[in-house]
Amino acid sequence: MSNIKNFNSKISLAVTVFFFLSSAAVYFVKNKHYSIDNFLHKADSYFSNENFTQSARYYRKLISMGFVNENVYINISDSLIKLGDYKRAKEYLKEALKKQPSSEIYYLLGYTYYAESQLSFVHQYSEESIKYLEKSIELDKKNKSSYKLIGQIYEQLKNFEYARIWYKKALFENIENISEFYGFIAYTYFEESKWDDAIEYYKKAIEDNKNYISAYCSMGEIYRIKKDFTDAEKYYSQVIEINPDYVVPYYKIGNIYYEQGNYQESINWYKKGLEKESNNNLINYYMGMSYKKLNIPEEAVKYLKTAAYCGNDNAVQELRTMIKTF
């Protein structure tokens, strides 16, 4: 019996050893046939086609094959960020920093912490993010993305003064596309309801870039808030001149007339907006409301129904009220 038991154990161990050895042999043979160039080509191709699961898979294999390259680390981290695996992305970026620190890697690390803070609302992540972004700027004073992201983080923290400081630092470094940063500074004033300062910077942004649509829209909005409807309409009309297919200015001008009680004129503008985007729930809602104010319930119901169908909750509420009234 003891002999049999020994025989059984020996066979079992032999099979197990064979299993491990054959697995190791297969692994060795397979790896021998893998080529770095082929994998790099595949990984880059997947990355440019936004297939991030596959690109991360191949970049990781490349790293495990000993292929150390800044771009590989940047791309694998970028892929992992896109896939929401921030923990691994940070690991790779920190590994890359040890090998070859660069402004781009510090920026990506800062961005990873920022993206993580957006999900977890942990204040500490924002601080970490700023720390890395500052290092990124230390290495490259013209790293536009880093200035922009620091500013955005401070904006989210409602620290507009600090956000402005960083945007102004970017302007001081004479980076490209300064109109964008004038726009950011203006936005911080806008958020603080400092209309005159906001207007000053939006004007600077427009001076630098005559086609800066969002600056024109914001100017229109500020003048609308200030009840200066003539200037508000002027700025929105300029947006239409730049891009006649952009639906927002039609709707905004319609709202200016709606606010003044000129419902017929507001309908004219909403109609123009609906020609561009017939299923816009806001335009349909205000169209319906304008008809309601003009006491044309059939038309009002028609547009409110469309708005409700397109997901406008106010339209649903309004329709319920109208049904009760009639």
Binding site: S12, V26, R57, L80, G84
Partner: protein, 108 residues
């Protein structure tokens, strides 16, 4: 295999699960699914055991049937242990399944 020392077999299977997890993780296919190392290995171990057991029961059924038929043909009652046959099939199936997973995990 390891009929008299089943615990040793499960320890080896645990080790295999750990190695498999490493290679599967290298492929990054578990992103967002199984990030916990211990739980992942546990699930992998459990899956291998479950599939191997199902396969072994299936195969053992035919083997026992064959042995019975063979006994009838040669007119002798065959001597076999059902538990031994199922266990043997289970261990072999576990190794085969582990190898298939390993092969897939190292294929790019």
């Amino acid at each position: 295999m390891f009929y008299k020392n089943k615990i040793l077999f499960f320890i080896i299977l645990g080790l295999i699960s750990l190695i498999l997890y490493y290679f599967i993780d290298q492929q990054l296919v578990l992103i967002g699914l199984l990030n916990n190392f211990i739980i992942s290995i546990g699930i992998l171990f459990f899956l291998i055991v479950l599939i191997s057991f199902a396969a072994s029961v299936f195969i053992s059924f035919f083997i026992i049937l064959f042995l019975k038929l063979y006994g009838k043909i040669i007119n002798t009652k065959p001597r076999y242990s059902k538990r031994f046959i199922i266990w043997l099939n289970f261990t072999v199936a576990a190794y085969i399944i582990s190898f298939i997973i390993f092969f897939q995990a190292i294929t790019y």
